[in-house]
Symmetry: C2
């Protein structure tokens, strides 16, 4: 039985896609709370589906009605929708309410929260380091966050109680809280998450647009499959990630391109020694990461 450090009677999840739905399932499975779990979705169809899948206890189709009486509000919509939602719910949030989100980028979200939320509520940005190429409520699973890192970025003046509730929430869905700042978070994820996404998409586009693709496609095997999995991500989500973390992503594309260009040069001149050294360094660095952090991946 999970104990909240602070009384939490009502948790509202705004948006029940892969992440929002999985949080709902994970919270319900943990079963250790008397809190009511409310889901906000726009359409009655999505609401029926949410109740059928059991991701929340109750659904609301009005944002104001949904957040009324909430102790915790989790924004699990596309990042570009967050600004408008914050503006809309800001005046309606109960005093002392904790608001959090799950977006892949944090700097813009933190700015919007500061701009639109009243000082009577606390905002703590969140980002679970988990996902899969499928999206939507039907892909949701209670295990999605098990053992994964969950970034937390406390907003300016967030109370100790709010931080504790956020930590409780993260632990209750099986994840590991990791405190960071918005700028540090966005720099890091640009390298280890957004650059891979852009690279994966560029790889798909470069190869499949070739006039020789039909001959090649039959030969593509597990290496190609793994390297292009991220390109299957939802296009709007991929776009929003890029639009809300532009500077960092461009910086990392440049660093990556410089490294690729160095390898290209070694291949062109046939530099056996440096090529082998580079592949060896890459393999060793990858192994070190795998040994330290890769198991949960």
């Amino acid at each position: 039985m999970f104990h909240w450090s602070v009384g939490v009677r009502r948790i509202v999840i705004v948006g029940l896609g892969l992440i929002g739905g999985s949080i709902g399932l994970a919270l319900k499975r943990s079963g250790g709370t008397d809190s009511e779990l409310v889901g906000y979705v726009r359409t009655p169809e999505a609401g029926d589906r949410a109740l059928a899948l059991g991701v929340v206890d109750r659904v609301e189709h009005s944002l104001s009605a949904a957040v009324g009486g909430a102790d915790v509000v989790i924004l699990a919509t596309p990042v570009t929708a967050i600004k408008g939602i914050l503006a809309e719910i800001g005046p309606r949030l109960p005093e002392g309410c904790l608001v959090t989100d799950v977006a892949s980028t944090k700097s813009e979200v933190m700015n919007w929260a500061e701009q639109y939320l009243p000082p009577t509520v606390d905002f703590i940005g969140g980002h679970p380091m988990a996902g899969k190429e499928l999206s939507g409520m039907d892909a949701a699973e209670a295990d999605l966050f098990q053992g994964r890192i969950y970034c937390l970025v406390p907003g300016r003046g967030a109370s100790a109680d709010a931080v504790q509730v956020a930590v409780d929430l993260v632990r209750q869905i099986g994840a590991r809280p990791y405190f960071t700042t918005a700028s540090e978070h966005d720099e890091c994820v640009a390298a280890i998450s957004h650059l891979p996404l852009v690279v994966s998409s560029a790889l798909v586009l470069a190869t499949t647009q070739s006039a020789h693709w039909s001959g090649m496609s039959a030969l593509a095997a597990s290496g190609y499959r793994d390297m292009t999995r991220l390109a299957a991500q939802h296009p709007q989500m991929a776009r929003d990630i890029c639009l809300t973390n532009r500077e960092n992503i461009v910086h990392w594309i440049d660093l990556f391109t410089a490294e690729l260009s160095r390898l290209r040069q070694l291949i062109e001149v046939g530099d056996e020694v440096e090529l082998q050294r580079s592949f060896r360094d890459a393999r060793e660095a990858r192994r070190r990461w795998q040994d330290e952090h890769g198991s949960g991946g």
Copy 2:
């Protein structure tokens, strides 16, 4: 019980690493042949291990002794060793013997075969589109080729019987024969196999060499893991692939870099419409490939 279309009494595998060992295991499991399976390895330790793992019936530590009386010789060494081996075994191969290889690039191998093998034997280049990041005999598995494409490149003047034996061999290990030419093969694999390898390695090097890597590494999750799996390939093998397919790989790095640079530009100026279109195109192209060919990957 598998029937060889042409009598095959002795099959010799030169080199018992991941691929050679897996061919041995797959042939022995198919159990449908009276052929003797002989393995050539350099050290007595490797020979003992091969017999203990049951990848061949008998081991030889002399190349000449190994290939004597062979109906089929499968070269499963690193590609750079093939030239020397062909020169050494050429004069010792029985008349009518089929020689094949499993190297990731085919043009150079086909040239060497033409140069060093006598007209009394047939050469058919081979390349199973299967692998994993582990290497060595202990990683070998009988299922490695199940359902996978196996490229076959008949050498100049290869006999119909030799072609039939190669097809039998491929089918017997569970793979699907796919006839192609050396130049077509090397162009295709540059795009769908070698470019991904170089990109994966560049991604590892660019990220892990960053001064901020220690902070990032904890956040890297399944996306990073998949995108860097190929970088764990054996450095000598990766180097040899690059050295024997230089022109094609450089060409594909350039096409890929142009596409990445286009995406970079869209991100820098924040072009919502074109970014979403690109990610959508990538996702759709990847899905089409997955639907048509991805299941076996």
